[in-house]
Symmetry: C2
Subunit: 482 residues, 2 copies
């Protein structure tokens, strides 16, 4: 067909220009070279790409954008490809994009310890950033499961969450400035390192969380905190989620900003971890219905903090809010408790088929959310196992309808079942003024939910900004906005 011929000519011309600009070794086109970049890490999603380019600096990114714009070929920026919703790989609709992989841009440009800031390139791996900050006695606070391979550019584009949000906020709250390549190839240098700057629209918020649809983030100035060097950790069994919520309030009142984690899992989740992950054991003598890991952190006063932890738990026990509790008495025990929490993905993958959701509701509504979502799922599949893994302090509950492998295989229409159950859970969150995506983002899997839950006014506002900044729909067309 003529169109395909034209497309092939266009793509060939574009690739020649890209090679001239970046060097041949920075432009991948062979199918075997493309594979790691066009398929998501769990192997569930794969889409075609015109090429993968690996620029080494910001002006090369700018050149790539100009060339793609001139040839009418879309651009998909990519970091560590660790998205949980297929956000980093091409879709199977529309023109195959040029994937701009930022891995080669991984310099830490500058650390200013006295200002609590560091300037990094988009391809820096999160763990590298954490370590570089710690070497200066500072904390880069965002922490997630994928931190060993995810890149800061991806964290910024998806406003990544994780386990430290309760105290330090999301990625958005830990960035001071950005450098971004815009749709016409212009480089916006917004690499400010200021705590205060009230001079009009705060442009960085346009690019944080918009998943590469408005520009390519090439560098960022991150905010650093004093490094907490002392910790106290406990594992306890609250009577129920409402009791856990009450205890959260007690910790907030007593410990203030020392409180750095408040993670809740249910009995089924703990059973799966114990059963499927070698070396994991229940920290308490009995299996209870609900379990909470609570952590305090501070720059000073470790003993006093341990006492505060103990007092707060004793107070909760006296009020009849907990069945049992244990404090970690050393670093090894502390690591052991965290390992249980960190083993949930592995356990669930081995134990059956979980339909992961990522809802957030007001913190005060989490118990009601769990209750209603359980009812809604059981109205569809009576007695189905439910896993709950909640960042309770953030109101973010991963509520996971869970099938045995056998039961899953026997379903007549698995895809329809998955969609039905996820939608019914998201509906409960929506009724409680919550969201279907707390921390994973929209990617490809969340697009139908955007269409279903977002108000007309919101979609109109988002589209207006998209059209204003990327009028030719160059960046990630078809993404984010249904």
């Amino acid at each position: 067909m003529l169109i395909e011929e034209l497309d092939m000519k266009t793509v060939t011309a574009l690739i020649a220009s890209l090679e001239a600009e970046l060097g041949a070794n920075a432009v991948l086109t062979a199918e075997s070279d493309l594979a790691p970049f066009t398929e998501d890490w769990r192997g569930r999603y794969k889409g075609p790409a015109a090429a993968v380019v690996q620029p080494s600096n910001t002006s090369q990114v700018s050149a790539v954008v100009r060339l793609c714009a001139a040839h009418g070929v879309p651009v998909l920026p990519q970091g560590g490809n660790t998205s949980l919703c297929a956000g980093a790989v091409p879709a199977n609709v529309g023109l195959p994009p040029v994937i701009v992989n930022l891995t080669r841009m991984r310099r830490i440009r500058h650390i200013d310890a006295a200002n609590g800031s560091m300037e990094v390139e988009a391809g820096c791996v999160l763990k590298t950033i954490q370590d570089a900050a710690a070497a200066e006695d500072r904390l880069y606070a965002v922490s997630l499961g994928a931190e060993g391979s995810c890149q800061i550019g991806g964290n910024l584009s998806t406003n990544a969450g994780g386990t430290a949000v309760l105290r330090y906020g999301n990625t958005r709250d830990n960035v001071l400035g950005l450098e971004v390549v815009l749709a016409d190839g212009t480089v916006w240098n917004g690499l400010r390192a200021l705590r205060k700057d009230n001079t009009g629209l705060d442009l960085k918020h346009l690019f944080i969380g918009t998943e590469g649809t408005l520009g390519i983030i090439t560098a960022a100035t991150l905010k650093l905190h004093p490094l907490p060097v002392q910790h106290a950790l406990a594992w306890f069994a609250p009577v129920d989620p409402a009791a856990a919520l009450h205890i959260l309030g007690m910790f907030q009142a007593a410990c203030g900003s020392r409180l750095s984690a408040f993670e809740m899992i249910n009995r089924r989740q703990l059973e799966l971890v114990i059963e499927h992950v070698p070396g994991r054991r229940n920290p308490l003598s009995e299996l209870h219905e609900w379990h909470v890991l609570v952590e305090l952190g501070d720059t000073h006063g470790g003993e006093e903090m341990a006492a505060l932890m103990q007092q707060t738990l004793e107070h909760a026990a006296e009020s009849g809010l907990i069945h049992d509790a244990v404090l970690a008495t050393n670093e090894t025990q502390r690591a052991t408790f965290w390992e249980i929490r960190h083993s949930v993905s592995e356990a669930n993958k081995k134990g059956g088929v979980g339909l992961t959701t990522d809802c957030a509701v007001p913190v005060s509504a989490v118990p009601l959310f769990i209750e209603r979502a359980t009812q809604a799922v059981h109205a569809i599949v009576p007695g189905l196992d439910i896993i709950v893994v909640a960042h309770l302090g953030d109101g973010n509950a991963h509520f996971i309808p869970f099938f045995t492998f056998d039961a899953w295989r026997q379903l007549a229409d698995r895809s329809s079942m998955a969609n039905t159950l996820r939608r019914c859970v998201n509906d409960v969150a929506h009724e409680l003024r919550g969201t279907f995506s707390a921390e994973h983002g929209v990617g490809q899997t969340g697009l139908p939910e955007m269409a279903h839950y977002k108000s007309a006014a919101e979609l109109r506002l988002m589209r207006a900004v998209k059209n204003a900044l990327d009028p030719h729909n160059l960046f990630n067309p078809g993404r984010l906005l249904p």
Copy 2:
């Protein structure tokens, strides 16, 4: 003239429609009624208005916007009219606007203590919000000099700063959701109360800090913190600003997030306070060149915190970084120290003519900023007094060239002198990658600085968003973007 006649007809028709919609008592048109709304609180700026309307609810605001849009009359939203840069009153160029004063929308709609959130209308006075939060043992953290009369809608539109930014961030960091009336009268309900929501562009950031140019904020969901109930306060004299910066680092490392204020003033500022404000005295036995007020706050551990304060100051003294220090030993003394800091505006007004600036630089660059700005000012007016009032922990220094009344009167061209000196101070901040407006906003006085300092890319991005959201330039035309 025909145009004026047409305008008068238009205005008359608009006012009739507004009265029909809101009731006559909510539409002010008499010159004497308009005065409090058309002139800034310091009496320096005054501009004409077609009318002042005082809607009582969001749908009335929406109706006002639709009517103004239909008649082609611009809209200027207004809160407590406490702007320091004439942001809340009309300019003397362009069509006289309808001022939408939000004072009647002052309901606290809802407090959810367990979620740490409260929903308030735009006209709520900041102090009312702080008090309502405290009644639930929660903190609404933003605190400023004008808190007794400024309104939350104005705080949001200007991303107000204040004295708690070091620990809790600016207004932007203390809001979870917004309700906004858009340029076509649509009400966007973004009153979420979530800690996490990654579903596309975070729309609230479009309206925070954009000074009413993109929409009218009618309500907000604010973030509340645990209430710190224990404090430790000290006043000390660092050897110089570099020593103060070093001590700031010592406090951050030792005290972490307990550190809630780190305010520095110079000798001239303290002299003026002592001389002109009854009851104010130097907390130390001698007048030193530099003075710092440092405050710690916590939910728990007052005695331990006082010891931490003392140890840190002793450590600084042993390192030769301070001349002298005194700890507040009771609430009265604590209040006395803060009163010195809060008396600077009164003292400076009585003592002479200060040319206030509002620069921020990276925290680590504040000593260099003060040194260079002093040199730059003295190159123009040798030996001129300089006042420094710095939120050192935020990198925000109010650097104030200061004239005696006599010297000011004798100047041939005062306006030109004011512009020259302010610009030379802002230039130094700009060289150090800083900003000319840290916390006051742009208003009318900052417009020339926007044109002078902002990059073409930034102005283009801001204009693109303005055109996308307010294509007919209804909201605050001529503001923010030069």
